[in-house]
């Protein structure tokens, strides 16, 4: 109940200030949450406007930095989603993405959805990560990053396997950011390494 008079107005503004602070905290929290299901990096300086005649070629180091950033962000989100929010995993894949899982080919979002449902619950631990920007000659100027990871995984709490996984991530640029999605994924158990 807002009391009339000066006292009331002060209370009102305090309430409002408090509410604004709350709103800011809430929106940054929810924005952070929203991007946890998508791999997003800030756009490169000249990438946002394509075909601009005045665009300077992007420095190679910038490509490398972007690739590293995308790869790190991606790996964090991917394995957490795989372990804890398996149903959301297919959102990280392109519609026509292909997965080769220990030699088994799974193509397309429908097949991927089924596959990830049948795959037992997982517990991943990633010990290695490396990435490279893929040369544009191979990708027809579609920005792509090659990511390799390795580590250990347990399925359904069974014995531990070592694994190697490779991804090709492609960028979908918007003026505000770059969204990365998996175009190809290759996973193999690799029980060769010593512990």
């Amino acid at each position: 109940e807002i009391l009339p008079g000066e006292n009331g107005r002060r209370k009102n503004s305090v309430c409002l200030a408090g509410f604004t602070i709350f709103l800011n905290i809430w929106s940054s929290y929810s924005r952070g949450n929203r991007t946890r299901e998508e791999v997003v990096t800030p756009p490169l300086p000249q990438q946002s406007v394509s075909g601009s005649p005045m665009a300077m070629p992007v420095d190679f180091k910038t490509y490398v930095d972007q690739a590293c950033r995308a790869a790190e962000e991606f790996v964090n989100i991917y394995y957490e989603t795989m372990d804890k929010r398996r149903r959301a995993l297919t959102r990280l894949y392109l519609d026509k993405a292909t997965l080769i899982w220990n030699g088994n080919v799974v193509t397309g979002l429908d097949a991927l959805t089924n596959f990830f449902e049948v795959l037992p619950s997982s517990e991943f631990q990633v010990n290695m990560l490396d990435c490279q920007p893929v040369h544009e000659q191979a990708t027809q100027a579609q920005t792509t990053v090659l990511v390799v990871t390795s580590g250990t995984v347990k399925f359904d709490g069974n014995r531990q396997h070592f694994f190697n996984q490779n991804f090709l991530l492609t960028a979908q640029t918007t003026p505000h950011n770059t969204v990365w999605k998996i175009a190809s994924d290759c996973f193999r158990f690799q029980d060769w390494a010593t512990t």
């Binding site: 220990n102 990560l129 000659q137 175009a183």
Partner: protein, 529 residues
């Protein structure tokens, strides 16, 4: 808690009249649910001095129970109490009590009705398919006309059907019980003994509430099953879990609800040992497979030679290469990988973006310079597992895993650790349409003991006739691999390659053509152990 007392059947017999159908005995095996029904009954039968016919075997919570009518059998069963040992060497208790007439024996159909039932069943039986169609049996016009009410959900009715099947058509292959309002499958549990050959079962549109009902018939080796239209189908969150749950009861199942089932479930794959030799793991057209194979052959021949500089022509001007060693580089076991650790670009540990940039080798000169610095190697191509996982018209992306040996010449003998590696190559075809490497990522670690032992297990061929000694190392390796790929002996492989100017792909194509035309003589195929 019920206490089971073994009342002596003989004493009880004094109280009943001779030949009375009412002398039934209930045999109880506490915790019998943990045993397989067939094993349990066979064990009991074999230990029991008097042969008997068990009736109405069923489970009540953890107990297994069945009935016998014969007093002497009951007495003999009492004698084997705690005499049978199970697989864990525990004694199995067997308790015997008098009992009322078992359910299925109640209201047994009279002989005339059984006769009519037999006629009806023979009408509904397709001899050519060995299929019995009992759908909606309740409303069969013949049965209704004779005032015979067959409600299959009732034990006595189901027993009557099973008896008829047992006597007349035990070779049954397919049984249709659709639309019979079945809410449990206890009555069917004897079907495994009566008609063990059943491969197709239709239980659709009944009232089965839980998949656990299938436990009662899981001895059947079903290949096709229909369950749709039962409440149990709605208890599963999605199709794949439904399928895998049903598959647990019938591992040989290949069709469910009219749909072909996909090949074995993922859990099978997870447990499989999937290290396969190079030739089996390709996914993709044959031509790509050959292309990649030839690439790997040539690449590693040069890599293993003295002259890694020749690799310059394999790389694109602006190619990238990086190396990682998994795990923490402070791990003492990794100290013998020191040759590689200084180039280790494991981003999990390396956070500085400048360092990350430096450790990425860019331009082909930089790459080949680093490669030349690595220890001399000998790769075991037979250990390779290759995945072609992305390709377009202008790009090939594949990964290779395998082992190699580091070659250190000590007193003219080569020694060195065995390493395991995974390498991903991205090849691209340039303007002159020749392929070159644009991206190359390598991971190196120590190989497991088993891998070390099995590596290089196929020896390099020793010359068996004079011409072989004139072959170069590259040609010798080509012969070895051709022999493994084609299955023909080393001598024939060499001949084939020689006849085709040592063009591997051409030789392979020629071989394949001859093979389909049946022109390869038997003696060419040699067993390679």
């Amino acid at each position: 808690i019920k206490a089971y007392q073994n009342r002596t059947p003989e004493r009880l017999m004094e109280n009943t009249q001779d030949g009375n159908l009412g002398d039934w005995f209930k045999i109880t095996v506490p915790y019998g649910i943990k045993y397989d029904k067939t094993w349990l009954m066979n064990s009991i039968q074999s230990h029991c001095s008097v042969p008997f016919t068990p009736v109405d075997f069923h489970y009540v919570k953890h107990l297994a129970q069945f009935f016998v009518q014969d007093a002497s059998a009951a007495s003999a069963l009492k004698d084997i109490n705690y005499k049978i040992f199970d697989e864990e060497n525990q004694k199995i208790p067997i308790f015997v009590n008098t009992s009322a007439v078992p359910y299925s024996m109640c209201n047994k159909l009279e002989p005339e009705k059984m006769e009519q039932l037999k006629l009806t069943i023979s009408k509904r039986y397709d001899v050519s398919q060995k299929a019995l169609d009992l759908h909606k049996l309740r409303f069969d016009p013949d049965l209704l006309g004779h005032d015979i009410i067959i409600i299959l959900n009732r034990r006595n009715c189901m027993t009557a059907i099973l008896q008829t099947i047992k006597k007349n058509i035990p070779e049954l292959l397919s049984l249709n019980l659709c639309k019979n309002k079945l809410c449990q499958l206890d009555g069917l549990s004897d079907i495994i003994q009566i008609a063990p050959t059943i491969k197709t079962l239709n239980l659709s549109k009944n009232e089965l509430k839980s998949a656990r009902e299938l436990d009662k018939i899981k001895g059947l080796k079903l290949e096709e099953l229909w369950l749709q239209g039962n409440p149990l189908c709605n208890t599963f969150p999605n199709q794949p879990t439904y399928v895998s749950a049903i598959r647990k009861y019938f591992p040989n199942l290949s069709r469910l609800d009219g749909q072909d089932l996909p090949p074995p479930t993922v859990t099978g794959i997870v447990d499989m040992d999937i290290i396969k030799p190079c030739k089996e793991s390709f996914k993709g057209p044959e031509t790509l497979k050959n292309l990649i194979f030839q690439f790997l052959l040539h690449y590693y021949l040069i890599y293993d030679s003295e002259d890694r500089e020749s690799l310059l022509s394999a790389y694109h001007e602006e190619a990238c290469f990086s190396l990682t060693v998994p795990y923490n580089s402070e791990d003492p076991a990794l100290s013998n990988l020191c040759e590689y650790l200084k180039d280790n670009r494991n981003m999990k540990n390396l956070k500085d973006s400048d360092l990350r940039f430096q450790l990425l080798k860019h331009t082909k000169c930089e790459i080949v310079n680093s490669l030349c610095v690595f220890p001399k190697t000998q790769h075991d191509l037979n250990s390779y597992v290759v995945d072609l996982w992305a390709h377009t018209e202008i790009m090939l992306c594949f990964s290779v895993s395998g082992v190699f040996k580091e070659v250190i010449e000590v007193e003219r003998k080569s020694q060195g650790s065995v390493r395991a590696f995974t390498r991903t190559f991205i090849l691209s075809s340039g303007s002159n349409s020749s392929m070159c490497i644009v991206n190359d990522i390598l991971t190196v670690g120590n190989a497991r003991t088993e891998e070390t032992q099995s590596a290089f297990s196929i020896p390099v061929p020793t010359p068996t006739f004079s011409s072989l000694s004139t072959l170069s190392q590259e040609q010798q390796e080509m012969v070895q691999i051709f022999s493994i790929q084609s299955g023909i002996s080393l001598q024939w492989s060499q001949k084939c390659l020689q006849d085709n100017e040592w063009n591997y792909i051409k030789a392979a194509q020629v071989f394949a053509t001859f093979k389909t035309q049946g022109k390869i003589p038997e003696e060419a195929f040699k067993q390679i152990s």
